[in-house]
Symmetry: C2
Subunit: 137 residues, 2 copies
DNA sequence: GTAATTCCTCTAGCCGCTAGAGGTTCAAGG
DNA sequence: CCTTGAACCTCTAGCGGCTAGAGGAATTAC
């Protein structure tokens, strides 16, 4: 049985965020001391680690919640978990693609300034100039 | 001189967002008709395109504002524009790295379910399991 | 002239936290 | 046992970057 601060340290989730998750219903209401302070057990710890991990993976809280309710179910329902993973994977691949295009463009912009910037630096122009960048966004 | 709706169409920035930018001071107050409707000129158009482009690049509005105030300056100050580009570039590269790690992990998770999910699907376990994923996040 | 569309302002809401105020409880040291 | 100081409590408000809706006025097309 540990206090919220210790749970925070063990999971890397900040104290106010833990309380926030409780408010949202992602974490069950924990036991309380006589003085109204929260006390957590191992189950809470692993549940919070699960939340943290899925959040790190980029899942919105709604998806995290969906996964949490899937715990203990069997068969058909579990396809939903698979769906969430697939959906997330597609999403992440899109994001990577997009970021790579932006990277290329920022390189172009950054180089535009190397050397001459006496009167009118090309960087500012480059920031505003969408035409000269390859691809679309 | 066009209305806000046309400016929106030409730039791809939604109408409420344009007004939001005006509130934030990123766009100057435009001219108004006798009936109090906004009318924009070419200068507003190009400024809004600049904003849109930099936002697409992932810059926060504060950076966009900083760049906008750099317009027309010379010499030293322009290094700041270059700095913003560099900083953003570094940031994007980090994000790409991170996303690639997540992609690998989601692939692992997704595959964990292919085939057997009769009793306890491995996907849920995989979502909660940080230990088996390579790298850190 | 009238009807449909666009515009106006204003408030509130979204996500996922984060910060602060003002007060209470706990654990350790003397 | 008593004091101190850290950690806890609840509550409200704020962040970024919009987005949605209410209720009403202006414009445009026919």
């Amino acid at each position: 049985m540990y206090a919220i601060g210790e749970l925070s340290q063990r999971t890397g989730v900040k104290v106010p965020t833990i309380r926030f998750y409780e408010d949202k219903g992602l974490l069950p209401h924990p036991a309380r001391t006589a003085g109204n302070q929260r006390r957590y057990d191992e189950a809470a710890l692993s549940r919070l680690l699960f939340i943290r991990h899925t959040r790190d993976l980029g899942l919105p809280l709604a998806d995290v919640e969906a996964l949490l309710t899937l715990e203990g179910t069997t068969g058909e329902d579990l396809n939903r978990a698979h769906d969430i993973a697939e959906r997330q994977l597609t999403d992440i691949r899109h994001r990577i693609e997009r970021l790579k295009r932006l990277e290329a463009e920022l390189e172009r912009i950054s180089k535009a300034c190397d050397g001459q910037h006496d009167h009118v630096c090309a960087v500012l122009h480059a920031f505003g100039d969408h035409d000269t960048c390859e691809g679309s966004h």
